[in-house]
Amino acid sequence: MRKLSFDSKFEIIRFSVAILIALLLSFIIILLVSDTPFLALQKLYLGPIENLRRFGNVIELAITLSFAGLSIAIIFSSNEFNLASEGAFYASGAVAAMFVLSNSLPAIISPFLSILLGGVVGAVIVTIPAVLKKKWGASELVSSLMLNFIVLYFARYFINNVFKDPSAGYNATYLLPETAKLSKIVSGTRIHSGLIILIVTVIACVLFMEKTKWGFELTQVGRNRQFAKYVGINTSAIVIMSQVLGGFIAGVGGAVETLGMYTRFQWQSLPGYGFDGVIVAILAKNKPRYVPIAAFFLAYIRIGADKMATSTDVTSEMIAIIQGIIIMLVAATAFLSNTRQKMLVKEVRNNG
């Protein structure tokens, strides 16, 4: 085995400490607020593996979070903070639903085309802030956040007017045709064939980032743009490419979620998956190969929190605290920086 570099060694320590602190804090808070603290803790940490259906929920959520995490990880690799993946998730879900409702293509072809279309929609949406920045220097963070709302209300108009099912009793589209839906692949759960699409996407992303010229160039652009320019990389093309790609993945994720999990398209507000993607990407250090692990971890504690909320007097918002602490500690580069500095000084002096 390759010897771990100084940075990897330190990152492992930092992650473990962050998670430990978060778990410890959740433990203390639950002890303080709950009448049945031990039941609450049991539900929180063991609830997701109580039965197959619950564990299925974890996997279902992890699929969606993985798509979101991959999207953000690829975008953030270029050091651009474009958050339009959120809007891309919503719009591509809506477009995928509208597409399968407006034609009667046979099974397999219908979801395939629908997901592809979702991907294209996502790519277009996420590219808008990228182009605005390239052309006019508009901050991609601000324009992407604003764009999310434009996308939401634009798509919702069609959902609530053109494709609305009056007999549904609430704002939702007509029932999605069975031929269009992603099949369930594990009985007793709602785990759908989107899992296979995800596995393919993860492999593609890992290969892209680690084995292709473009992934290599993207990594260098993100690490030092000055260096990238000097060695002759077309930095602006690479930056745009990463956002097109990230948008496409978010779009595929939105379409897969719609076709895999719902009978109708019924989102009335932004689903929040784009922002969850940021959490996943931060935990995975923007590396596609770690995204599924991070997504699974996040899905696990969220389903655990749901279970805890339904069985005890602790609400599921509790999980927001745990999540918040972990993210804060992992993202805060200054956390444990004194320890790191001490380790480093020792290492530098040892090596002369």
Partner: protein, 515 residues
């Protein structure tokens, strides 16, 4: 005179492992103008950042008037009476001179800012130090020279007794520089102590009392400015001349490979940093360009390599106009470049040695198959380069930032020299690295020349550039001021005079480099 400030045994190791200050001692006497010089990366900025509370030292002590200080932030530094005028001004452009001067310590009620009190107080400090400036004017309407005065006033208003000026004349015209110096003399007369960071030795000789010289993160000497010559200072900055002992045969000049015609480059303030420069570079020769840093070398290199666009003039490489070509296209034509700013541009610090080596090879069929990396080949190739170029590292997967400066430079050289280039722009190729690595790089440069390539060598190290170059150009203030057909026939003393702008050859003599 007694020391007013002492920094003792300052050490600073940055989070990326770079040792920026290594047991540095620095002291100031009350009421002096003290020059701090050293090449980029010598550690002088780090030392000043520590004094001003921007960086924390790894260890070391700071005494002010014999009292030990802990400086955790610039606010502490200001409280103790230190002021810093940064090279890039920290002013609010949309506000007036008075508002900028009092910013952060506005007089009067916190609820109701009274501009007349602000203006009166600003006026008071302006008059006290005999500045000429209108307090009501907006910063955005001021010239660079006046903005700098506002920066100085800002520090004085906050009660600065010790002023740190970071390359204050770099952005000024000669007339503005004269004015600044008058102002500094007034400040000195009123008892202020000034730290003057600069590369311009002429100016240091003119205005400073003492000088501290830094090299490779250490203090290499403190002198009375009167008692050292500019040449001695520059020797200390770049490291005492060593016997390079380069074996090379006389050059047999070949075809013209690179031709620069009437090249002009402007900086952000639209001041020309390179003025109508022309020369030709022939195959099988090493052409040296020598000068004190900041006289247009960076602009020359950047415009040839495609990193900046020239404002006027032509650059021909292999008879092709490359002015507006991309860096990648210029590189593919056969141009390699060792950058002067090794850490900022030469490498991606977080990437491994292998990634840093491979970065210019993404179009190489031996290592990349239809855009897919041949990881095994790349690994083998990079490990071969490591042994061929004697890089001290256990494997090519080590992050490059863990290496020493000399080994980082070897990685850069390995990348650039093996790329089948005909022309190498080598900017400070051996700065701040150990003798062994430097000699190795010299040998490689001569080898390339003998294989019919052309080398444009830029260096501030006189003995290096003299012994390595076949012919030699001297650059001063954005122009060539001398050309020597045979670099070995010119003395360092003579070069020094041209580098410092004391002497200049005739137009006709300089024009020989365009043949």
């Amino acid at each position: 005179m007694k020391d007013i400030l002492r920094m003792e045994n300052i050490n600073k190791i940055y989070p990326n492992g770079v040792i920026a200050n290594n047991n540095v001692n620095f002291s100031l006497r009350e009421g002096e103008i003290h020059a701090l010089v050293g090449e980029n990366g010598a550690g002088k900025s780090t030392l000043m950042k520590i004094l001003f509370g921007i960086e924390k030292p790894t260890d070391g002590k700071i005494f002010y008037q014999d009292e030990e200080l802990t400086i955790d932030s610039p606010l502490d530094a200001i409280k103790y009476g230190f002021g810093m005028v940064h090279q890039h001004f920290m002013l609010v452009e949309s506000m007036s001179v008075a508002e900028n001067i009092v910013l952060g310590s506005e007089p009067g009620s916190s609820w109701n800012l009274d501009s007349s009190i602000q203006e009166a107080q600003a006026k008071e400090i302006i008059d006290k130090y005999h500045f000429q400036i209108n307090v009501k004017e907006k910063i955005s309407d001021l010239s660079i020279g006046l903005r700098q005065k506002v920066e100085i006033l800002k520090a004085l208003f906050k009660g600065a007794k010790i002023l740190i000026l970071d390359e204050p004349t770099a952005v000024l015209t000669p007339q503005e520089t004269v004015e600044l110096f008058e102002q500094l003399r007034i400040l000195k007369a009123q008892g202020h102590t000034i730290i003057f960071i600069s590369h311009k030795l002429t100016e240091i000789k003119e205005i400073c009392d003492r000088i501290t010289i830094m090299r490779d993160a250490t203090n290499v000497g403190v002198y009375d400015v009167e008692s050292v010559t500019k040449e001695e200072i520059s020797d200390l900055m770049v490291g005492k001349s060593m016997d390079w002992n380069i074996h090379k045969t006389p050059a047999i000049s070949g075809d013209t490979l690179l031709e620069v015609k009437d090249l002009t480059v402007l900086n952000e303030a639209n001041i020309p940093t390179l003025k109508h420069v022309s020369f030709k570079l022939h195959r099988s020769t090493i052409l040296g360009v020598v000068g004190i840093e900041g006289n247009g070398q960076k602009e020359l290199v950047d415009s040839i390599t495609g990193l900046t666009k020239a404002d006027s003039g032509e650059i021909l490489f292999k008879n092709e106009l490359i002015n507006s070509m991309s860096v990648n296209d210029i590189r593919s034509l056969g141009l390699a470049h060792i950058p002067g700013d090794r850490m900022e541009r030469g490498i991606a610090a977080d990437s491994s040695i292998e990634e840093n080596m491979f970065a210019t090879y993404t179009n190489d069929n031996k290592l990349v198959n239809k855009n897919f990396l041949k990881t095994k080949e790349i690994n083998k190739w990079s490990n071969n380069l490591i042994s061929e170029f004697h890089v001290k590292a256990s494997s090519s997967n080590v992050p490059i930032k863990m290496l020493s400066g000399g080994n980082i430079q070897k990685v850069i050289v390995a990348r650039e020299f093996t790329s089948n280039c005909d022309c190498i722009i080598a900017n400070q190729p051996t700065r701040g690295i150990d003798i062994g690595a430097a000699k190795f790089i010299h040998k490689k440069l001569v080898e390339l020349r003998d294989k019919n390539a052309a080398v444009l060598l830029l260096s501030a190290d006189l003995s290096e550039i003299k012994s390595l170059s076949d012919s030699l150009l001297v650059i001063y203030n954005g122009q060539f001021v001398a050309y020597f057909e045979d670099a070995s026939k010119v003395s360092e003393e003579e070069l020094g005079k041209y580098m410092l702008g004391i002497e200049k050859q005739t137009e006709l003599e300089i024009k020989r480099c365009e043949r």
